[in-house]
Amino acid sequence: MIEFHVNLLPPEALRHAGIRLRRRIVALAATAFAVTLAGLAAHSFNESRSAAIRVAVAQDLRESAQSIDDVHTMLMAEREHLKRLVSCQRTVALPAQASDVIATISHLLPEGVSLHAMKISISEAKTAAGRGLAQPAPTGQPNQPKPVTLDVALAGHSMTLAAVSEFEQRLGARTPFVGVRRNEVKQAGSGEQAFSLTVRVDPWAQPDGAERIVSRSEP
């Protein structure tokens, strides 16, 4: 079929157009590559930063965990030390000051009763209190050393026998006095009664309705 084709496009123009087209393609490809590269770099930078942050956080966690373990160990050691100190304190510390005991007993003396002798001695706490109540050790541990108590021996004179009994009752009703026991009551001269009592100062015994000992250190 006749189509009257006379192509006047020089080969170099075609090459020129092809080169220009290839340049555009290369430019587009280069742009796409640059954009991809920039995106990859940004992503890598973010990932690197995130990884560094994760590593730092993990390191902090490890160091914190070590510190926590150290603090825990230190606290446990201090606790054991304090336990030993408390135990030691309980074995050697007196349940009350002697002056407080004396002041309280003087305060409890009824009218017409006087004391002429008092002896305070240290002894171990007994499991059974004077009122017949079984008191457990304060720590609840069987191998704990028993705390010390004070045994107080009193001797005095009273105008009446009833006053001696009242004095005995007052002691029994007052904390930490337990185990009040009348040892002897006898006639002395001029109608007076000579008596002797023993009482134990045991702060671990907690009878109902007990009053607290008067302490100079606690107003």
Binding site: M1, E3, F4, V6, L8, L9, A13, L14, A17
Partner: protein
Amino acid sequence: MFKALAPRTDIAIDFGTDRTRLVQLSQDGLDASIDAAAEFDGSPFAVSGSEITIEPGFVQALRRALKSSGFAGRRCALTIPCSSLLMDTAELPSLAKDELLQGAIWEAVDRFGLDRTALHLGTLPLGGGSRSGGPTEYLLVGIRRQIAMALTDCVARVGLEPSRIEAASLAALRTAWRGMKMATAGGCFAVLHLEDGKAGLSIMSGSGLAFHRTFDWKPASSGESQADWIPVDGEDPGTARVFRWYGLAEETLQCFRHIDRKLGCAWPSQLVLTGPAATDPALTTALSSVCSVHALAVGLAPGVLQGVLDPMAAPCTWSAALGSALAGQSSGSGRRAA
């Protein structure tokens, strides 16, 4: 339904002398439809036909036209006006293809007065060639390389890749030939392509293109593009237009007589008018009466649907662009018309 999937031809860009037209066809079976068309004022050849000036505004206008009118693809075919081409006929001996081209180049260098490095030449045999081994007449179509490179650069700047550059008159001849070859049934007909100031006359015989000549149809001293404004001494101003067309008709008549003497009993039965300046009814009247031939303006080729082309647009205005686009089509309509 599947029209969007139909293959599209190359984008045909017709650089006229004052306007630029773009067309793209899609082939749907045996038919082709105009899928995209655009035109705008401006041309690289607006200042001078032999020089090319590509303004940045022209490139922007071309880019806008491509974007706004639904063109697809990157390949394009360019047509340029006859005034920007160097065309002549020459008899060349029967040679091998490469030797023939070299001989044609030497002949063109002598005739056009250009250095062979500044010229790109194409040839087209006239009269179906010689079967006896004697000399054959060839149509020599030359283009200055500077113009070809500038046009290539122009379309490359808007992202297109040119596949061919051809003369607007030959592209319009393709449109006319597709419409006429069935009607004439192997007879002789002529195609007159009219541009602003330049005309290209082609005479088709049964064996193909028998004659082609370009000539000026407007006096160089006129300075006006409207033929009916040209004053003629001793004539009434109202008849000046008809007289002006008679000058063109006389030139056409001389060509007809030449081909009639050369081929013998080959007077064209029809004269088909193409080109932007072929819309004047007075032109067909003048040509018909002077040349004793039925003159008519070209229509759309058979099998080419109007598509998006403005129904009021004259097909002869778009004939070069349509012919260029039809060259990229797979000749479905051509087979049907044959």
